[in-house]
Subunit: 97 residues, 2 copies
């Protein structure tokens, strides 16, 4: 199984309403793009200064299914319309569970 | 429960042996520092260009236990001696499970 983990840091110019709208768009992804076995979008708990703002964790049965998700047009549209316009930094890893 | 997720990107000057030594030191942490319920250190699967190199995922029963881990002298020594000298970039999130 492949676990996909992304950390998002949002732009200072993106207010809470704009960030919430982006999180909602990310949370709709598992209904719109097939393949994930589990899908979580969560805010940072605020315990440590300097953290990213949001984490996305999605599990896929194998690398091929992850790649199909990553290149799915609906996924790419969410990134282009909702994520990238307010993105200050992004860090990603996929690892074998 | 609090899940602590760190992405590490290692310096280009750190060769495979040096990185492996750092990963081994991170993997010894749950034996040396109390509190974690689960502890994983894994390499990026190499599916996507531009990813971080290593992910650490550790679960703690609550924020207080996470904070005790984070400030434990043995943990801080591992960061100072094994992580920071070869660290190019780091991204972290803690989130409620």
């Amino acid at each position: 199984m492949i676990r996909h983990v992304v950390h998002f840091t949002w732009s200072d110019t993106a207010d809470e309403a704009r960030r919430a709208e982006t999180l909602a768009a990310l949370r709709r992804l598992p209904e719109q793009v097939p393949g994930s076995l589990a899908f979580t979008v969560a805010p940072d708990a605020g315990l440590v200064e300097g953290n990213a703002h949001t984490v996305l964790v999605a599990d896929f049965p194998d690398a091929e299914t992850f790649r199909a998700y990553a290149s799915d047009p609906t996924h790419l549209a969410v990134i282009a319309e909702h994520v990238r316009p307010i993105l200050a930094a992004r860090s990603a890893v996929q690892y074998e569970l």
